[in-house]
Structure formats: structure tokens, C-alpha cells
């Protein structure tokens, strides 16, 4: 088993909640640093989807994390390295899914059109 990711000492207020769009990677760390970041935007017909949710799922659809989309349709996760599924939910039963690969020190960009 690898050790826990020691990358960030940046404060986020100490809570567990998911701010809309996710915590800013640059605000939290300055750079992706040692973090394995997954981020992107959700759009529909060219416009940002500001009401909706991005979920990060592991193998076997195991729930990992969820953030409400930001005003620009944005989302961001700080994951462990590996393979993930990104699922987007929006009003009207809209949904989309993408496969994502992550690694420490990388920002994986996933833009989703629904």
C-alpha cells in the first residue's frame, strides 16, 4: 500500500463539504503539485450547465466524491492515481459518463457536453 498523499497543507476551512465547482486547485496548492486533479466543464448547446452534479466513481461504480457544478459548469476533484469514471447529473434526467485516468502531479481535463 502506498502512503497517504502528503501534498497539500493548504487550508480549505477544515470541512468536508463540496463547494460548487470544487475547491480551486490553484487556490489550494498554487499548482497541481503532488495532487492528482480531475477538472473540467459541463456544457449543453454551448452554454455552461450551472445546476447539476459531477460524481467521481471508482471500480464497480463505487462512489468516491461529488461536487455541485459551478456557475461556469466547472468541477474539480483531488483523486488518487488510477482509473475513474466521471458521471454528470443535471435536471431533466440529463446524464453523461466519461472514463478518466489520473496521476499525481497531473491535471486531467475532462469537458463534458450533455
Amino acid at each position: 500500500m502506498s502512503g497517504a498523499n502528503p501534498a497539500s497543507t493548504a487550508g480549505t476551512g477544515g470541512g468536508c463539504g463540496a463547494p460548487a465547482g470544487g475547491v480551486s486547485a490553484s487556490a489550494a496548492t498554487g499548482t497541481p503539485g503532488g495532487q492528482a486533479v480531475v477538472e473540467g466543464r459541463v456544457t449543453r448547446e454551448g452554454a455552461p450547465v450551472a445546476t447539476g452534479y459531477a460524481r467521481l466513481l471508482g471500480t464497480g461504480d463505487e462512489f468516491v466524491a461529488e461536487v455541485p457544478l459551478g456557475d461556469d459548469g466547472g468541477f474539480r476533484f483531488f483523486a488518487a492515481p488510477g482509473s475513474w469514471t466521471l458521471r454528470v447529473l443535471a435536471p431533466g434526467g440529463l446524464r453523461a459518463e466519461r472514463s478518466v485516468e489520473t496521476d499525481y502531479g497531473h491535471v486531467t481535463r475532462v469537458d463534458v457536453t450533455i
Binding site: A10, T12, G13, G15, A28, R55, E62, V64, G92
Partner: protein
């Protein structure tokens, strides 16, 4: 208690908007969601600013809780309907907190803010004015909350339910994946704990799974002994409040405590046992 005594659906909530004696409260860690739009007539409680002591690492005390509810215009007789983001984590925490201080009529909105939004129901930016009250709380109910010494003593004796994600449980991550990694000094879990992530208790839209699904999840899959006392924990005590709600309020187990110190405290204690990897 049964599910219908503690949990209501969005139709019920919608039909009670503006009903005297029913106070709808949105609870979040980040209250900017409330500011952008909330269930009409809802007031807000900020999980951190309103419910945590600004100096000591603890709750606001009884006097502080009384002052908060009086200022927000909540009476002892009111039915308080709680909802929030993050699949109701902070609303479930507030539910537990209201029970801790003895509020009688508390309800949780099934699915919380997410279900309300995904249903495209009305949101308002109007902030209601409620006349101040003179709220009286009870002393904290110690049967609902546990502190670190009781947790260490419970290793191998009670059900310990770690409701964090599998990666946090095994020690791969220190915090949920939507946050930068930080907080506790050590990763891992409390020995003998079973990992039942809070998310397994919820459907994709944030509503709770059925009682029979929940029973088979905890008793069947996770192997909890429902005849034993149970302690739930996570990282800061709000996801475990969600599981406390499931076990104590929906499944009606008599002795379930939330360890709100959770991994942030336990993983920084000197000299306590920690396990890494899968549950043994």
C-alpha cells in the same frame, strides 16, 4: 420512530412552504448555495460559523444554541425541516445536533438540495424575516455523542462503522477526493472498524435507500451485530451523522453514537492503535 416520523419527501416539503409552525432550514458548510437560491421561506444555518465554537474545538454550548435558535426565530414547538447540499451530510449533522440539544420535532428532507434541484423545483433568493423567539434547549444528550476515550475503549467491543470512502479507510487518501489532501497526521482506520461508506446508504439523487436495503447493507454485507452498541465516524463527523441518521432514526437501533471528533482527531492522537489496508 419510523421512517415516516423523521423523513419527508419533496412533495411534502413543497406543500408545507409557508405553513405556520414549520421552519425550513438549509444547512451547509458553504452557504453560498443558499444565497444563490433556496427552498422558498427557508432560513440558513452555517455548519461552521453557527454550530462550531469559534475558539475551542467543540460545539457551541447550550447557551449558544439557545441564542442561535432564538435569533433565527425558531420556537421549541416548531417543526424544523432540515435539508442541505452534499447529499444532506450537514443537514443530517444538524438533525443530530438538534436532537442532541433536545429539539422534539425535527425532520430531514429526503434527497436534500440535490433532489430538489434535479426535480427543477422552485428556488428563491428572498431571505425571510422571522421574529425572534426565546428558545430553551436541554442539556446535551450524551447517549447520542461519543468522545475519543470511549472510542478507544470500544475497539473490538462495539460496532465501529467507518463511513468514509474505501481509499480514506485503507489509508490511500486523507480526505474525500473533492478536497485537497490534508488534516489528520496519520492515515488509516480504527482497528476492528467496518467500512460502510455513507454513499452506500444513498441513491444517486441523494434520497435514502429503502429500509430493507439498508438493513441488508449493514447487517448482511458489513456484518454489523445489531444487538451491539454502535459508533459511527468519518473525518469530521458530518458524513457519520448521515449514517447515524440511518441506523438510529431509520432502522431504529437503540444505541448508536456519532463520534464527531472522527478521523481528524483520532488520526492525530498519540499512542492509539491504527490499522491500514482492508478491514480485518
Amino acid at each position: 420512530m419510523s421512517r415516516s416520523d423523521v423523513l419527508v419527501d419533496a412533495d411534502w416539503a413543497e406543500s408545507r412552504i409557508g405553513t405556520p409552525g414549520v421552519v425550513i432550514v438549509e444547512v451547509d458548510e458553504d452557504t453560498s448555495a443558499y444565497d444563490k437560491g433556496h427552498i422558498p421561506t427557508a432560513i440558513k444555518i452555517d455548519w461552521k460559523k453557527d454550530l462550531q465554537d469559534p475558539v475551542r474545538r467543540d460545539f457551541v454550548d447550550k447557551t449558544g444554541f439557545e441564542a442561535l435558535l432564538s435569533e433565527r426565530g425558531i420556537s421549541n414547538d416548531d417543526t424544523v425541516l432540515l435539508y442541505g447540499g452534499n447529499n444532506n451530510w450537514f443537514a443530517a449533522y444538524a438533525y443530530w445536533y438538534f436532537k442532541l440539544y433536545g429539539h422534539e420535532k425535527v425532520l430531514l428532507l429526503d434527497g436534500g438540495r440535490k433532489k430538489w434541484e434535479l426535480d427543477s423545483r422552485e428556488l428563491s433568493t428572498d431571505v425571510p424575516e422571522r421574529p425572534k423567539t426565546d428558545y430553551t434547549a436541554r442539556e446535551q444528550d450524551s447517549s447520542l455523542r461519543t468522545l475519543r476515550d470511549e472510542v478507544v475503549a470500544a475497539i473490538g467491543k462495539r460496532n465501529l462503522v467507518d463511513v468514509r470512502s474505501p481509499d480514506e479507510f485503507t489509508g490511500r487518501l486523507l480526505a474525500p477526493a473533492h478536497l485537497p489532501q490534508e488534516q489528520a497526521q496519520r492515515a488509516g482506520h480504527i482497528p476492528t472498524a467496518r467500512n460502510v461508506p455513507w454513499s452506500k446508504a444513498a441513491n444517486e439523487d441523494g434520497t435514502f435507500r429503502s429500509d430493507s436495503e439498508l438493513r441488508s447493507l449493514y447487517e448482511g454485507e458489513a456484518g454489523l451485530d445489531f444487538g451491539r452498541e454502535t459508533i459511527a465516524y468519518c473525518r469530521i463527523g458530518e458524513r457519520s451523522a448521515h449514517t447515524w441518521f440511518v441506523l438510529h432514526e431509520l432502522l431504529d437501533l437503540p444505541d448508536v453514537k456519532n463520534y464527531d471528533g472522527s478521523w481528524t482527531e483520532y488520526g492525530s492522537l498519540v499512542g492509539v492503535p491504527i490499522e491500514l489496508g482492508e478491514a480485518r
